[in-house]
């Protein structure tokens, strides 16, 4: 019985950590933080411009010229062929929409759940959402045979008296992606207003004009704050179901088709989780890049944030494995001849190595790296895992789309897919994403300073009372 008298919980090593390791417990005066963020935004060196130049050239050639070439000559210059009507274009669409999901997940879900460590990187993630959706929209348009007529998908009254067909999953997609793009852009802008006002107060020249316009005349009166926080709350709650619906609907583009390997009821949640898987990994990469290239960002983005992201990545990876297994075991057990054929094609067909690489990148890599707290807190390691996960998730979509289309119910038409100009376009799109992000990083304060200060103040406030009340992040 004596043993019971001993304290059950031993002091854990973590409790002796310096609380100053946490951003929320390491406050700086607001003026200092403003200065740091502004300085990081102004800071450009020759390396920045060299990279920007290379990216701009890549965008102009691989995206601009290649797309012009594609439109001019028709889709014959791409690799799409008779059974594989959808090629890498659609892989990119799903991939970029997946990337875009992490932004909302982090900023909305973590905001709703009041996870304090989200504060410094919500903006970086939201920016990823908006730019990712831009890429996805570009991919959709590149994929279309007659892109100049894409406005026919919009419900506009016209002299033909013909409307778009809302029976089509592509129309649901069109509506969902438009909704998501509009809402996530608004959601990016809302918390940006006070920071724009901040930037307006301490800039000159063209920046002053820009921030003055974007700052909307925000001062920070009680009414303005109340309206802003109410709107942000509404958005945080409302955008979560939209986010889930968007990738579910993207998955329905495939699941609604009566094709072996596509027609699966688990595709909705499976794609959502897959989106989060690649999105979280992308956030890790972006945070690593921001931390290592932007001045002063080591103060804002700390190992604890990588820790949070790493845990989420591990969790999402496990969930992804669960859903993948679900999607795998049912056709495997059911033994439908066409579904079985699709599985065997992926595993033993000429592209078998893609399947194994996908499993390695999506499951083995995160599971073997992210369980360890020390490794999770190592930014470069987390970013490398992120890159591998993104490779794996891209391959997963590649297996579903071009590889899945290779085989069908008419064996006479089976034919392999060899990508053509899509490769250049994909490279161009990645370049465009990075370019947009790099340019935005010099124009938009990527750290929501007011949110960071709000969090720090909230932690201070709790110590004003007599007893020290543990804050949410401490309870974690």
């Amino acid at each position: 019985m004596t043993s019971l008298a001993k304290p059950l919980a031993r002091p854990h090593a973590e409790e002796h950590e310096d609380p100053r390791e946490h951003l929320m417990h390491d406050p700086l005066p607001r003026g200092k933080m403003n200065e740091m963020v502004m300085e990081a935004m102004h800071e450009t060196n020759w390396k920045f411009w060299v990279v920007t130049g290379i990216l701009a050239v890549l965008v102009a050639t691989c995206l601009g010229y290649a797309w012009y070439y594609l439109i001019d000559k028709g889709l014959g210059v791409a690799g799409v062929n008779m059974p594989v009507f959808w090629g890498i274009f659609l892989v990119d669409v799903v991939f970029w929409i997946g990337i875009s999901h992490a932004g909302t997940f982090i900023s909305a879900i973590l905001r709703v759940l009041k996870v304090e460590s989200r504060r410094p990187f919500t903006r970086a993630a939201e920016l990823m959402t908006t730019f990712g959706l831009v890429q996805a929209a570009i991919s959709v348009f590149m994929h279309m045979g007659r892109v100049w007529l894409s406005y026919w998908m919009a419900p506009i009254p016209n002299e033909r008296m013909i409307w778009p067909d809302f029976h089509s999953p592509l129309m649901w997609d069109f509506m969902a992606i438009s909704t998501y793009l509009l809402c996530s852009t608004m959601y990016l802008f809302l918390p940006l207003i006070p920071d724009m006002a901040m930037a307006r107060d301490r800039s000159t020249g063209w920046r002053k004009t820009l921030y003055k316009i974007l700052g909307l005349g925000f001062r920070g009166t009680e009414g303005e704050w109340k309206n802003l926080t109410t709107a942000m709350n509404l958005f945080a709650f409302a955008i979560i179901p939209v986010m889930f619906s968007v990738h579910t609907i993207v998955s329905w583009d495939f699941a609604m088709a009566s094709r072996p390997g596509w027609s699966s009821t688990v595709f909705g949640p499976y794609f959502v989780i897959g989106a989060l898987h690649s999105g979280m990994a992308a956030v890790a990469i972006v945070l690593f890049l921001l931390r290592s290239t932007m001045k002063h960002y080591k103060y804002f983005i700390r190992p604890e944030h990588f820790d949070t992201i790493g845990m989420l990545m591990l969790l999402v990876s496990m969930a992804w494995a669960y859903f993948y297994f679900n999607d795998y075991i049912v056709p495997w057990y059911g033994g439908d001849v066409w579904d079985k054929l699709f599985q065997e094609w992926a595993e033993k067909g000429p592209l078998w190595y893609l399947w194994y690489t996908m499993l390695f990148c999506n499951i083995v890599v995160p599971w073997s790296i992210l369980w360890n707290k020390k490794w999770r807190r190592t930014p470069w390691l987390l970013a490398s895992a992120g890159i591998l996960i993104n490779v794996g998730m891209w391959l997963e979509r590649y297996i579903i789309i071009p590889e899945g289309l290779t085989i069908n119910r008419m064996p006479f038409t089976w034919r392999l897919y060899i990508p053509g100009v899509e490769i250049a376009l994909t490279v161009g799109m990645f370049a465009l994403f990075l370019l947009l992000y790099m340019l935005a990083s010099r124009v938009i304060p990527l750290i929501p300073v007011w949110e960071v200060q709000e969090g720090q103040e909230a932690h201070l406030l709790r110590k004003i009372g007599k007893a020290e009340i543990p804050t949410l992040s401490e309870l974690e």
Partner: protein
Amino acid sequence: MIKKFFAWLKQPLGLIAVGIVFLALFSAAVYGIYTTQQSPEQPIQFPHKTHVAFGIQCLYCHPGANKGPAAGLPSQTKCWGCHNQIVKTRDSALLAPLKDAVLSGQSIQWVPVAMVPDFVQFNHRAHIAAGKNCEDCHGDLSQMTIYENPQVLNMGWCINCHKQSAGDDQALLTKLTDCGTCHY
């Protein structure tokens, strides 16, 4: 530099300049659209009015209308067959191109005006058979010299008429609003 420019724009003279530029662009756009709606130049200023006034039936010159898809244009020998016999027109300067064409055996390059795109399969015969008259679509030619479309021949206009013609007859409405009736 840019600031100076904007400052200049804000003063009255600048505003007037902005207004002039805007008006110029706007009128250019309007004119551009206007030109697309004009009938093109024809090799001969053919007066439909006169011919109708003489009591010539549409089908005399456009005999394909009740037989097949295209109404057809009269051959120049057909034109010349009449005009050759009228002294006034035989030597008319206005009809010189016709005379030249007949004598040299070249065909007159009429510019089509009432036309539908290639992806629309239009058939005159079905419309005549349904009791439509020429003027229902082509306008009152007794008032027209060179042919002009009385309205834009677009799909909404076609569909409207199809719906009206069908009335309450469901089977006919199905047939007439079927995409495959015109597009294949």
